[in-house]
Symmetry: C2
Subunit: 409 residues, 2 copies
């Protein structure tokens, strides 16, 4: 019998307990061992549950219990999760987590501690919820050099954008609906400002390219500026607007990595990933494009990924998984100014001015546009050059309303 | 250093050699061991290659070489591949293969031999080419009870159907084009009659549900009967026709499993998987729908999956992977007559007759249809009941031109 502990009995934690209990038999068949929950850490009481006797309010009860071999951290946030995870690893326990903030901010450090103590630190559930992506990236694509990873990594913003695109709902109304349905928090900033997607692309980039990429080091744009006018122009251009986390290997060890809304062609597999679903595109030099699609969040999808990691830890109690990246100071991140993209621009002013500033543009039209409104796409150029031209545009009396990257996905 | 051998230097085999050589350094980093090709079995000579000295025409050179720890079988076909793989496993070598016919027909037997000798038998490349699906099914979805797997598993037929749908090309012309482009064999029957897709859904079903499902035991329909008329009606219905391999757990240990063309709603993630791409939908009780998408065939995608398996074998030289299913005599396969589906029917005759025979139908229309032509969809019913009604229809003077399942994917 293998004893495990769960840190946190919130949405994901209760899901982990539920799956371990309801799938006990099939799990035992697969692992050839019974998995038993020994303790659950939570400050609240849960008197009505069939496993109420497992709860403790004291972390020491878990870290000092030598029978507990695997710990699932599903509390979220960096504090106190970081200290708890660190101490569990130092106590020679394998740890699995769904905590993307923890992995994005402390991954290199925790992986090093896990390595030192010959235990595992796994985090399949931290990206893409129930979609298998960390393990396929690490194992199945081992024979590929990854060229690019691009994903719709946040279900809340994808739900909002889908409502704007398919029902012409305003950003404000779509956000309100997302909150009513429980998809968005009362303070939605981590989602709508791109921070959640940022943590996830940082984790994927760290894993794929072997060096930690910290969220603070990368350009992060949310969707709060996206308007129904932009949605309409994107439609006329032949695509949709999606919030994308993107990392490209520029070939000289530098990563072009950012989170930003993007115009995505309707031919792209990512364009049809709607509502709260996530989709992650991995471009390998051998496999070509591989896309993983599914529910990126939610109690049971996320919990099932946590349980899969628990099972993997149990299978590898005496043999570490080769999941590792080293620390890095951000020197492998291309400055955003140097990133290259074609761009979409919406503005009030003269299309002739735009033409003379950008040299070559393609104008877009939409129905019922105000007389003074223009929209166009540019050729590929460095963001730095683009920003200079936008400045020039403004100096020539054009009021720039929005600019959005154009994706090649 | 780990010594490996490759059986067969055709498209996939030469790709495996290429990846092992061109990715030598990054592989070594990931495995912490140098992977070296010791021998390649092929009856032909390859004088111009940088690794010409590795070739042998004699299998005994490989099976009797104790230094060789991992063997990649990429010859295809059951004979002599089965004997070779069996003997390698019995000689305590781990074996990886891309050979779906071998796995579909002999998987249970080879897995049992591998288990007996405490070595691994892996076959990620046998389904979905470069798309990771075997490993995610086995590992990541371990915490799920799988309810259904449905996939576009054959790139050749998907290419043909895509040309019929998007360019109104006839089946015959699309097949000819596929042959010209190298997507279809001169004898295309394994693809267009569904046998290739059948092998793949058998492998997925065996793995997901734990008992071997043999290709001979399942209903297999190809796409040779699909006409542009059917494509037009599917469009008016709101979807497309795709060749689907499908397996559903009916809940009492019986599998509803078959390969058949299906009308798929345009809302389904599978509907936008076009050309030679494959897509596999896995429905788990915890994860919900997860979709894997990518190139299902081709030299480097398939070879990269083979190499990923080689790496996995090397990581688990002393610890078997938990990849296993037991043999079964077909008693777990629901007779196709008992399978339940809504159906599409195209016929020459009276819609009133159809209405009176089927009680409730929904008529479909298309432009420029001959006056006598009718098309309709039925409610869900057992195939047995449907076939009885089709017989009744014929007895009442209706000429039935085609019938196609309607998918709920």
């Amino acid at each position: 019998m293998i004893q495990v502990a769960i840190l946190g009995h919130g949405v994901v934690g209760s899901g982990v307990a539920e799956i371990l209990l309801t799938h006990k038999e099939s799990l035992q068949k697969k692992v050839h061992e019974e998995i038993s929950i020994k303790k659950i850490l939570d400050l609240r009481d849960f008197p009505g549950l069939s496993y109420s006797d497992k709860f403790t309010k004291n972390f020491e009860d878990i870290v000092n219990d030598d029978e507990i071999k695997v710990v699932a951290e599903v509390m979220g946030g960096v504090n106190p999760a970081f200290d708890f995870v660190k101490r569990c690893l130092e106590a020679n326990k394998s740890v699995v987590t769904s905590n993307k903030e923890l992995v994005a901010k402390k991954g290199a450090q925790l992986l090093a501690i896990a390595k030192e103590h010959n235990v595992n630190f796994l985090f399949e559930a931290s990206v893409g919820g129930g979609i298998p992506i960390i393990r396929p990236l690490n194992n199945c694509l081992v024979a590929n050099d990854v060229d690019e990873i691009a994903g719709i990594l946040n279900g809340t913003t994808n739900f909002i954008l889908t409502k704007m695109i398919t029902e012409s709902m305003s950003f404000k109304d779509a956000l309100k609906l997302a909150q009513e349905l429980g998809y968005a928090e009362r303070d939605p900033s981590a989602d709508v400002e791109g921070h959640d997607a940022c943590r996830k692309i940082c984790i994927l980039a760290s894993l794929a390219f072997g060096k930690h990429v910290y969220p603070d080091n990368i350009h992060t744009e949310g969707i709060t500026n996206i308007s129904l006018e932009d949605v309409a122009y994107a439609n006329r251009w032949g695509g949709v607007i999606k919030l994308i986390g993107d990392v490209k290997n520029t070939g000289n060890g530098m990563l072009d990595i950012f989170v930003a809304p993007m115009l995505i062609s309707e031919d792209s597999q990512l364009s049809s990933i709607d509502d709260v679903f996530n989709g992650i595109l991995v471009r390998g030099d051998a496999t070509g494009d591989v896309v993983f699609y599914g529910k990126g969040a939610g109690k049971l999808p996320t919990a099932s990924a946590v349980v899969a990691d628990i099972v993997d830890c149990i299978k590898h109690l005496n043999a570490r998984k080769y999941l590792f990246w080293s620390d890095c100071d951000g020197s492998n991140v291309l400055p955003y100014d140097e990133s290259v993209s074609a761009m979409y621009v919406r503005a009030n002013g003269s299309i002739k001015t735009a033409q003379s500033v950008f040299n070559k543009i393609t104008q877009l039209h939409r129905e019922n546009a105000p007389e003074n409104e223009i929209a166009f796409t540019t050729n590929e150029m460095k963001i730095k050059e683009f920003n200079e031209k936008i400045k020039e545009l403004k100096e020539n009396g054009v009021e720039v309303l929005n600019t959005i990257r154009i994706g090649d996905l």
